[in-house]
Assembly symmetry: C2
Homo-oligomer: 453 residues x 2
Amino acid sequence: MAQRLEKTLYIGPFVHCESLAELDVCPNGMIGVDEDGKIAFILRSIKGRRFPNGEDWEEAKIGVILIDSDTHIHAPQYPNAGVFGKSTLLDWLNTYTYPMESSLSNLEQAARVYNRVVARTLSHGTTTACYYATVHVPATNLLADICQSRGQRAFVGRVCMNRMSPDYYRDESVESAVRDTKACIEHVKQIDPLYDLVTPIITPRFAPSCTPEALSAMGRLHHEEQIPAQTHISENKAECELVAKCFPSHKSYAHVYDSAGLLTPRMILAHAIHLSPEERTLIKNRNAKISHCPASNTALTSGTAPVRDMLNEGLTIGLGTDVSGGYTSSILSETREALFVSRHVAYNTGNDEAKLSVEEALYLATRGGAKVVGLENRIGGFNVGMDWDAQMVGLAGVGDTIGIDQTAGPVEIFGQESWEEKMAKWVYTGDDRNTTAVWVKGRLVHSRESFKP
Amino acid sequence: MAQRLEKTLYIGPFVHCESLAELDVCPNGMIGVDEDGKIAFILRSIKGRRFPNGEDWEEAKIGVILIDSDTHIHAPQYPNAGVFGKSTLLDWLNTYTYPMESSLSNLEQAARVYNRVVARTLSHGTTTACYYATVHVPATNLLADICQSRGQRAFVGRVCMNRMSPDYYRDESVESAVRDTKACIEHVKQIDPLYDLVTPIITPRFAPSCTPEALSAMGRLHHEEQIPAQTHISENKAECELVAKCFPSHKSYAHVYDSAGLLTPRMILAHAIHLSPEERTLIKNRNAKISHCPASNTALTSGTAPVRDMLNEGLTIGLGTDVSGGYTSSILSETREALFVSRHVAYNTGNDEAKLSVEEALYLATRGGAKVVGLENRIGGFNVGMDWDAQMVGLAGVGDTIGIDQTAGPVEIFGQESWEEKMAKWVYTGDDRNTTAVWVKGRLVHSRESFKP
């Protein structure tokens, strides 16, 4: 199945996250990527530039590079990006979200939306995305097909929701939910038997949308199929109260998922704002993962997640755009939002330690995201044996010319900046114009006109 | 002096703010702009499209248009945009800001920075900017020259700072501060005697940087010269404590400026986060104006300004990017930041009313900004007799094509959107790529390649 690639030498500066606090900057290195799209070797200095294994390596110039994962994004909500008024979670679902998701039953509409969202997120440098789709089997399968053909590493989840959902948009029964979920799993097995690029993911919408039986059925599928799961947790206070009412015999929101067999190392929990200390301990003990969605949490006035506390407790955290609760499909913008929300937490709590550094936010978007999706041994950084999932970041220097080049984007490198400052400028002022090229598993999946390998 | 322009008919949809809560959308109108760059007439329907006054009018197609004012931006800090680490106001000044501002004593450096910042802010649709420059007379005059030649409406202030500033960057004495400020005022009088495009502005940095004598001297100049003034107020709690210590005989921070004769209808106060109710009443009674700088306030962990309360009290508020406390030189990004900060205020206070709507945030960026700079009769909306300060906003529709056009920017118009939703998408997901053309006083001062009049 796997496409054989030209063995390629990527020559130039590279940057990735060494640890939560540290960027590893190699200003002048060489990375060899083999026919399977895996990193075969890394040279930290190219003095002499002797080519390994004779002459059969292609050569490509690269810039600063990093790998981004979006650990929570609702593909069908993409046409609503930026449209949410003054709503909060529960009214937002009914006003904006369910009608939009429901419209994806039309496959032409699904093709239009899903092609855009995959192309657009690739252009933002999202090499891996965890997608919520809709309840619809054909449209969900189409999303998987589009990820496969466009080459984006993706987790694609058919949404399970069999109560407290509109009549026009819901699962009819637990049985139909299981059958439809299995149909989507089977489809991915057809197009990508080893889940090499696309993986199905068990996706109970959130506890209030699922009966206990539906949650348990999803928990069983999660174990039987040995595939990951994703859901929402503790995003909004009214939602938390609703969960307490819907599941009166459970100790907490986290326990609802735990008792359904869903709180596992392969579960991705989006938001996680209002968790109690006991819930965080439970999540930590189960080694379930957290997707932090700062833009959405601010937009829908959901609150501010205590990221520093959760990191200190040893929880594993990545970033999610949560389109269209989040306005942006750019994981780079989300990185900036994570920095800003951490400053609001610091201000509100009086604890300066709550502030994230640029390096830490980049870690969440790269290595953190890789851990959240369970692929920390394959993606998230540059290490021998890992896949070549990478983006090339172009940062134009300010010349002495009078004019500006809008095609290069608004980052301004005046020349005095350290590497750390360049990365900060990229995070705070950069956009998709700085994402010059994107590779997944060694394959070039997006590039700008300016990219000349 | 004034350039005579072609009389031009601008034909197409136009949008401006009618009031704080209401957008006025005219989907198919015509605006006639005369030789002086003033709006001669407005037709809300172009049925029949009879041209007024015979055939001597040029015709230009326009898109959605609005006018933005940046009421607080530090031009010399532009090379530091995005670079501030985890600092807060007082350490940020010493670590990042004073060294950068000081470097503008070099006129080559000043030319490089100021040309960029004016070109860049124009490309973001900033038709009017209130600039802090530096203490340096030649560099400040150069900034005025650049605004004049590039056609940006600007208030250009030489900074007065004669204490608690580094030895390498300060005014030597009150006398030298007055002399240098006057030299900059004289320069603008030479290049723009009627302050038609460029206006000098009295700029005491902030109370801690100025002795009481310096503040009073600036207050006298403000009155003698009949020109506006700008400063900072109540941005950071440590700063507020410092002011109480430096001015022990004054009742409050606001009283410090008031007693120096600076709290007037033509004073622009940036930040205004931690004001007491008494200070807000004093500011209201003096009819001084507020520049709200949400991106900067979050970045430097300064706090969240209570914008809704201040609006309810009748204070006049515009938006400021506050580069480089703020990371962005885009007043559009700042509009989004204002929306987000208002949501943090709503969440923290439990008062949903604190949330700004997109329409309200746009009002602050347009009519609000015009009032803050005292030009509400000339700019900020489309009314007969006002100047043609405008930007054309291009919002590309999503076709049925598979690819995306990155040159058009990330706003995605799927076709089902109302005008209000289109504006929301622009504010939340738009950038300078949507700013197709910009006019100031009828003159085209920026356009993208895609602009075809």
